[in-house]
């Protein structure tokens, strides 16, 4: 069992007249396996990044390490154009995400050119 402490802060002096500045800290327990790695995306094939058959529900950290490529994360990147949006999120260059994943569907990463995606997976149990 391990304790994780994520903290998120959002600030802006000019997005509204009332200066934006807030911070949220959570205390999480990770009882399962931990993976922290960088994956090569080849720009041609989608890559399975979260395998529902191998992992339990987890907290997930995602980080686009590339300075020019955008990475999409979805249930199947090849289906991103269909009517229902199966793209969960889009990581611009050097952008990050923090979210829970229920391990009910596989998630894939896709990009138009080779780059690296950093991913941290912290199983809840």
């Amino acid at each position: 069992m391990a304790t994780l402490t994520p903290t998120f802060t959002l600030t802006s002096t000019d997005i509204t007249s009332d200066e934006l500045s807030f911070s949220k800290t959570d205390t999480l327990t990770a009882n399962g396996s931990v993976e922290f790695k960088r994956l090569d995306l080849d720009g041609t094939n989608t890559k399975l990044i979260l395998d529902a058959s191998a992992l339990a529900a987890s907290y997930v950290w995602l980080y686009n390490t590339d300075g020019s490529q955008t990475i999409t994360i979805g249930e199947d990147a090849a289906e991103a154009a269909e009517a229902m949006d199966s793209t969960h999120l889009t990581l611009a260059p050097y952008e990050f995400a923090w979210l829970p994943w229920d391990s009910t569907v596989d998630l894939y990463a896709d990009t138009s050119s080779a780059c690296k995606l950093e991913i941290g997976i912290f199983e809840k149990s």
């Binding site: 069992m1 391990a2 304790t3 994780l4 402490t5 994520p6 903290t7 998120f8 802060t9 959002l10 600030t11 802006s12 002096t13 000019d14 997005i15 509204t16 934006l20 807030f22 949220k24 959570d26 205390t27 999480l28 990770a30 931990v34 922290f36 529900a57 950290w61 980080y63 999409t72 249930e75 009517a83 229902m84 949006d85 199966s86 793209t87 969960h88 999120l89 889009t90 990581l91 611009a92 050097y94 952008e95 990050f96 995400a97 923090w98 979210l99 829970p100 994943w101 229920d102 009910t104 569907v105 941290g120 912290f122």
Partner: protein, 145 residues
């Protein structure tokens, strides 16, 4: 143009032999640019008393398609058994339990295809906080005209 900065840190002293300590900061830009996002829903705090799905973020028309947005959602409940299920465009993102939050950059789709909904696990009342920083919204008419 506005400058909005998101910072995330993640620490753990007992995850493994090497203590975890990561920190990253990112300015929120419009799609494909280094121009700051300039629209926002503001920071909202809502009280939900039913377990049905509710839209917290809607993409009302075609003007937001392909535009960037950053979404923050937090479950403010203090009861560890209570959670909200977050969905985007009808696909489940995950469950946020009491005290949990998410930060999710996304590309918007037209006309409600990337709306974000939440459903509380209980109907006894749950506080939720959310905010979207975005671009592209143009209000061109009244829905009840």
């Amino acid at each position: 143009m506005a400058t909005t900065t998101a910072t995330f840190t993640l620490t753990s002293s007992d995850l493994n032999s090497d203590p975890l300590s990561l920190s990253t900061t990112k300015t929120c830009y419009k799609a494909g640019t280094t121009i700051g996002l300039d629209q926002t829903t503001g920071l909202n705090k809502i009280y939900l008393t039913a377990t049905t799905n509710v839209d917290i973020i809607t993409v009302p028309g075609a003007t937001m398609a392909g535009k960037n947005a950053k979404v923050y959602i937090a479950n403010l409940s203090t009861d560890d058994t209570e959670y909200i299920i977050v969905t985007k465009g009808g696909n489940v993102i995950g469950r946020l339990y009491a005290g949990d939050f998410l930060w999710m950059p996304m590309e918007q789709k037209a006309a409600h295809l990337s709306d974000i909904e939440i459903a509380p696990s209980v109907a006894t009342g749950m506080w939720v906080e959310y905010m979207m920083i975005h671009e592209g919204m143009k209000l061109t008419g009244s829905a009840d005209a």
